[in-house]
């Protein structure tokens, strides 16, 4: 693996770490597999790309985050106010977002940001030399902010909602508002991740969100398995580290001759495997007990 490959893999890992943080919120904190992600990731890409083309790359990232907040809120409202199952609510928003994203991109299926000013070119030659370091700082900052937020009164309420909903209602917390807030924030992070990716690869693609939920789950599971859960800060670090490891696994698999078109199959299989292992272990243990 050349240094260039290592660096670009690391950069992608860091970009997707932001996605991992978002999925951590919906999947681990709220205990909801939220499919909005596959759409909101592209929403972030599209918004970021359009504003970068207009010459405002940083505003583009902020707007991408806001776009994700909006997408997540819609899913949250569908789920809490209309009592639609969370998975279906996510699928509905995701499907609708496909059209919305095309509109944002002016009807074009993809946009090129080649030779445009991006977040990374802005900082070229300044104090922060390389895009890798810049991305690293962004991820550390976001993870720290998220950890801090989850320790505030509002954050505690959010965590308790996913943990023990009945108790939360009995502690004067509106669980519906918490779910909407959680899904909004989660998708904000996801869209920001998409926004960063668009500027990093100087390209936005309307189909770029396919399989993002699976990818994020794989990262979370790998991180937890390899680096443990521990406290909040530890857990979030594990998620980010897991995302980066996963990127390297993919790069390695590609260099061994895995076709790029088989990546999604590979990712899904990995998640199935990770989910199956605890099941298998339990079954083995029971069998051993029976034979003992």
């Amino acid at each position: 693996m050349s240094l260039d490959t290592v660096l670009s893999t690391l950069q992608l890992g860091l970009v997707y770490s932001v996605l991992g943080l978002g999925l951590f919120l919906s999947f681990r904190i709220l205990n909801t597999p939220d499919l909005t992600v596959d759409g909101s990731f592209v929403t972030g890409m599209a918004i970021s790309a359009v504003l970068t083309l207009a010459g405002h790359p940083i505003l583009g990232l902020a707007a991408a985050f806001a776009g994700g907040l909006g997408a997540g809120s819609v899913t949250g409202l569908l789920h809490t106010r209309l009592k639609i199952q969370p998975i279906l609510a996510g699928i509905l928003t995701m499907t609708a977002l496909y059209s919305v994203n095309l509109r944002i991109m002016g009807g074009k299926p993809n946009l090129s940001l080649y030779k445009k000013e991006t977040l990374f070119s802005l900082f070229q030659g300044k104090a922060v030399q390389t895009p890798t370091l810049l991305l690293f700082l962004i991820v550390v900052l976001l993870a720290a902010l998220l950890t801090l937020f989850l320790k505030t009164q509002l954050g505690l309420s959010l965590r308790a909602t996913g943990d023990n909903e009945e108790m939360v209602r009995a502690s004067s917390i509106n669980t519906d508002s918490m779910k909407i807030l959680g899904l909004a924030l989660a998708n904000g992070f996801v869209a920001l991740s998409g926004g960063l990716l668009a500027q990093q690869q100087q390209f936005a693609d309307n189909n770029g969100g396919l399989g993002m939920l699976v990818l994020g789950l794989a990262s979370i599971i790998i991180g937890e398995t390899l680096f443990g859960k521990g406290g909040l800060a530890h857990h979030l670090s594990s998620v980010c580290a897991g995302t980066i490891v996963y990127r390297f696994v993919l790069t390695f698999a590609l260099s061994l001759g895995l076709a790029a078109s088989d990546l999604k199959l590979f990712s899904s299989a990995l998640v199935v495997l990770a989910l199956a292992v605890p099941q298998m272990q339990g079954r083995l243990k029971r069998r051993r007990k029976r034979h003992a």
Binding site: T152, Q153, L154, N164, R169, I173
Partner: protein
């Protein structure tokens, strides 16, 4: 203080499975009252508590707390003023959050949750003293997830959480029934201590008739969704476990006759 007027809860109304779980129940508690509720299974005790807490809507009737009509109020709004403990110790705490975070969550009951730290340094000291008063050694494990605690410890923590901000009304739904006898006794004593210290108006369901008569100042006997009798004062002092058992038996006799006659 608490006024329940003609409260009725009907499940599956209008179908063949229609069941009246609460049948025109009226009940008044004065400030500082500690009432125990007894009755056989299906008597409507838990339904009554759920209706007051707001987790079950009333089919008809009215519930007011300190003059405020709560009948249509959502559960999370009511819980500004109401603390509640369940039989299952798992229901009262968030398992993946630490002891101090659980307390922090409960400590902000009734306030607007903001971006302030959930557990400040000052809170931490306050929680330490609070936990120490339990004599369970929990004050040394404040950073331990609540899921690691035993049932009795979790129930003690839940009790603290329900009363860390003194509620106007405390609802206890057989909160010691899932514990071993020794732990149950300890939790019951703790409950009594906190209720007396803070003068909390309390409604407690129990299957332990001895407890029902030993604690509190009123005993409510329920059957088939109705209140049979409310004992207080001299009448309650003279009441023995045997008397209550006899009352149950006669009720069951009526029930079985009705069953045989198909009515």
């Amino acid at each position: 203080m608490l006024e329940v007027r003609e409260a009725t809860v009907v499940f599956n109304g209008g179908t063949v499975n229609e069941k009246t779980a609460l049948d025109h129940v009226s009940l008044t508690l004065e400030a500082g009252d500690f009432a125990t509720v007894i009755g056989s299974n299906g008597a409507g005790k838990s339904t009554l508590l759920s209706a007051i807490a707001g987790s079950l809507p009333l089919t008809s009737g009215q519930i007011t707390l300190q003059g405020q009509d709560m009948t249509r109020m959502k559960e999370h709004r009511r819980s500004h003023a109401i603390g509640r403990l369940f039989q299952d110790p798992l229901k009262g705490t968030a398992p993946s959050m630490t002891i101090e975070e659980n307390l922090g969550l409960a400590y902000s009951r009734g306030k607007r949750r903001s971006l302030q730290l959930g557990v400040s340094r000052k809170d931490e000291r306050f929680f330490y003293d609070l936990l120490k008063s339990l004599n369970l050694g929990l004050e040394e494990r404040m950073k331990t997830p609540a899921g690691h605690l035993s049932g009795g410890q979790r129930q003690a923590l839940t009790l603290l959480m329900a009363t860390v901000v003194t509620p106007k009304l405390l609802l206890l739904d057989e909160h010691t029934a899932a514990l071993d006898p020794r732990t149950a006794r300890a939790i019951m004593d703790l409950t009594q201590r906190i209720i007396e210290r803070d003068q909390i108006t309390t409604l407690m369901i129990t299957h332990n008739i001895e407890n029902a008569l030993a604690y509190g100042n009123k005993t409510i006997v329920m059957n088939e969704g109705r209140i049979l009798h409310i004992y207080s004062g001299e009448e309650r002092r003279r009441l023995s476990v045997k008397d209550v058992m006899a009352l149950y038996e006669s009720e069951h006799a009526v029930l079985s006759d009705r069953t045989i006659l198909g009515r």
